[in-house]
């Protein structure tokens, strides 16, 4: 009769994993070079002199010239670019013109705040968006579905700053149940710095007061930032779920008498989530890039506000540092998404299907 099933051996599967990771890393290097070149060029062709901005009215032409040569801004562009790349390769991102600190140190200070906020926002939207999408698909065209879709419509169409202002006005201004902004209250002692993530650090220090205070401060900005992602996720999950529930293998699973929770939450959900993973990755990437409006309104000392501050003062080293960080983040998130596909989809693991759309 028929031959043995042609399951690739484990070693072959790992070769596939290796190939995909290598390809992705190779791509990332090109991406990084492209992005640094572009930001470098862009930042050097925009009108305006960062040194003049920095010194303001008080800068005499001689002072400005001295400053420029000190910063290396008087050298020819290609040379500046070459030395920039050289420094990058050694993780020397230069010194911020505005804060006069190494850019790397600045990023290390500002990024954890953004990381903490966007991770909370993402977790919130996963926790809300996925169940909402599932419920919506199961109750298709019933009141719950309509309500969920209205909610999602709000998420994708409501301006973030407006939602933030409403949240502030109500939760702080009127009811005073949430703080106005910042990461901690004035009187809360920050936990010892380990990761820069206050929730983690306070847990490590077993400091529940700081933990609760940090969590309390995270609520409003997380909601604000996570609403759009929640809405996007709910829509995607609903659409995918409806599609999957129509598949033969789900009808087969039901026809075999498997219980409805098992069919939905195990056999259908995994299939439905497959394309959604890409969306989650993209959303996380954009959350991590810093939400300027949300961070500004909630006085959140994150990468978005840092970037705004830097652009106002034409702080090229800082801006390029931020851009680089964002590019790296996108690369890392994408790599994680790819790895997740390898874990979840045996067809990709076997190299049978190269990519899912």
């Amino acid at each position: 009769m028929a031959a043995m099933p042609k399951a690739p051996r484990v070693s072959a599967q790992w070769r596939n994993v290796g190939r995909i990771v290598a390809r992705r890393l190779g791509l990332s290097v090109f991406l990084l070079i492209g992005i640094t070149t572009m930001t470098f060029v862009l930042s050097h062709v925009v009108p305006g002199d960062p040194v003049a901005t920095m010194l303001g009215d008080r800068g005499t032409p001689r002072e400005i010239a001295r400053m420029r040569s000190q910063l290396g801004l008087d050298r020819p562009l290609p040379l500046q670019y070459a030395s920039y790349l050289w420094n990058l390769a050694h993780l020397r991102l230069g010194t911020s013109i505005r804060t006069r600190r190494p850019v790397l140190k600045d990023l290390a200070d500002y990024f954890p705040a953004t990381l903490e906020l966007s991770t909370c926002a993402l977790l919130l939207s996963l926790a809300l968006g996925i169940p909402l999408g599932i419920a919506s698909a199961l109750r298709r065209d019933r009141p719950l579905d309509h309500a969920a879709r209205l909610f999602s419509l709000g998420g994708v169409s409501m301006p973030v700053f407006w939602l933030a202002l409403v949240l502030l006005a109500l939760c702080y201004g009127r009811w005073d149940i949430l703080p106005a902004g910042g990461r901690l209250s004035d009187f809360t002692l920050p936990p010892p710095h380990v990761t820069g993530l206050l929730l983690v650090d306070s847990l490590l220090a077993n400091d529940w007061v700081a933990f609760r205070d940090a969590a309390w401060h995270l609520i409003a900005p997380s909601i604000c930032l996570g609403y759009l992602t929640t809405a996007t996720l709910a829509r995607q999950v609903r659409a995918q779920m409806l599609e999957v529930l129509n598949q033969d293998y789900i009808r087969m699973a039901r026809g075999l008498g498997l219980s409805e929770p098992v069919v939905i939450l195990k056999y259908a959900l995994k299939n439905a989530m497959l394309p959604v993973i890409t969306v989650i990755g993209l959303s996380y990437g954009s959350l991590l890039s810093g939400a300027v409006l949300t961070e500004t309104i909630f006085s959140w000392p994150g990468i978005g506000r840092y970037a705004v501050g830097s652009s106002i003062s034409l702080d090229f080293p800082a801006l390029m540092g931020v851009t680089l960080l964002i590019a790296v983040l996108y690369g890392v998130v994408n790599l994680c998404v790819d790895l997740l596909y390898l874990v979840l989809d045996p067809r990709i693991r076997d190299g049978a299907a190269r990519e899912i759309e």
């Binding site: 043995m4 399951a7 009808r251 008498g257």
Partner: protein
């Protein structure tokens, strides 16, 4: 034998368009019934409806009587999805046409198969795995323990259909619905799977509703056949009767499309008239869509025997007044039930 499935007046509609009209079906325990018809005649819809597998809405399933194993599956005259849900697996299970889409691509065969065994046989641990291996062996799969850890894309079409059959057997159903289980397979593999199904049916005594558009396939597995056209059963008869004396013009057309299926006795006993042969050669035209059914007998635009009254009223399924043995000389034939005003009683067609 006791009645396993009783269906009276089954109607299925999608968004107010009726697709299945007043179907009656009765299946005894261990009996095999074939459903035959061209594509779009409503075979899949009616069987999926019985399993409660149609999306509600847009589907709406109603019946006058619908009972399985003595239990009613209706609430009022609507299908009770909860009640059907309880019968699925243990009571009735279904094999799908395309095994490639019927197996979940992200889970191993073992994962799903063992989930079914756990659910219906309450086995755990090694007993569970042993049972899974035995089931795969029973459907003729080589190296079963290897297959348990395989994903669907690693198996061939025939192997996939065999695993699907093993999964349904795992639930030990008393009714197996097979919706064109061999259509998507290569001819040789199809023959093997068909033989497997026939064997399993004989051994386990499971009742079977076997759907196909191929009369030849049905005759190998089933003892009785219902012919569907445009959402109705137009003829229902034991296989012998149907093959020796097909009475509905549409059934005759089906045989004409597969001339080698006619039993030698059927051809040898009398001269086939020239114009009858022409009538049998093919069914002209195509199946009407459910939204635009012709009035009266839905077959009348394609029927060589149609008269004026055919598009006035819908013919109902009735036992033929003339016993078929009078027509063919076979004494043991049971009469057919036919929905036609002018059933073909082996006389030359009218007109011409």
């Amino acid at each position: 034998m006791s009645t396993l499935l009783e269906v009276r007046g089954l109607n299925v509609s999608f968004d107010a368009v009726r697709v299945v009209h007043d179907i009656d079906l009765t299946l005894e325990r261990g009996e095999t019934l074939g459903i035959v018809g061209e594509t779009g005649s409503g075979k899949s819809v009616s069987s999926s409806a019985l399993m409660g597998l149609l999306p509600v809405p847009p589907a709406r399933v109603r019946a006058a009587t619908l009972s399985f194993d003595g239990r009613s599956l209706l609430r009022g005259n609507e299908l009770d999805l909860r009640a059907v849900g309880r019968e699925r697996g243990r009571g009735m299970a279904m094999i799908f046409q395309d095994p490639s889409s019927a197996l979940n691509p992200l889970f191993t065969i073992g994962d799903v198969l063992m989930a079914v065994i756990r659910r219906h046989r309450k086995l755990r641990g090694t007993a569970l795995r042993t049972c899974a291996v035995e089931l795969l062996e029973a459907v003729g799969l080589p190296s079963p323990s290897h297959i348990l850890d395989s994903y669907p894309h690693q198996l061939s079409g025939g192997m996939k259909q065999r695993t699907a059959i093993a999964m349904t057997l795992a639930a030990k159903p008393s009714l197996l619905i097979a919706d064109e289980p061999t259509t998507a397979l290569d001819a040789t593999v199809a023959t093997q799977v068909l033989a497997l199904l026939a064997d399993l049916q004989r051994e386990s005594g499971v009742a079977m509703l076997f759907i196909s558009h191929d009369l030849g396939v049905v005759s190998r597995v089933c003892s009785r056949v219902a012919v569907m056209y445009a959402g109705r059963i137009v003829e229902e008869a034991p296989v012998d009767t149907l093959f020796r004396a097909p009475s509905h013009p549409y059934t005759r057309g089906l045989f004409a499309a597969r001339p080698h299926l006619r039993l030698p006795s059927m051809l040898g006993e009398r001269r086939v008239e020239h114009h009858e042969r022409r009538a049998l050669l093919a069914i002209p035209g195509s199946v009407p869509t459910p939204a635009q059914l012709p009035a009266g007998c839905a077959f009348h635009p394609r029927c060589y025997h149609a008269t004026a009254d055919c598009n006035a009223r819908v013919p109902v399924l009735e036992t033929l007044p003339t016993p078929p043995q009078a027509l063919t000389g076979h004494s043991e034939l049971h009469p057919a039930r036919v929905a036609c005003f002018h059933p073909v009683l082996n006389a030359p067609p009218q007109g011409d």
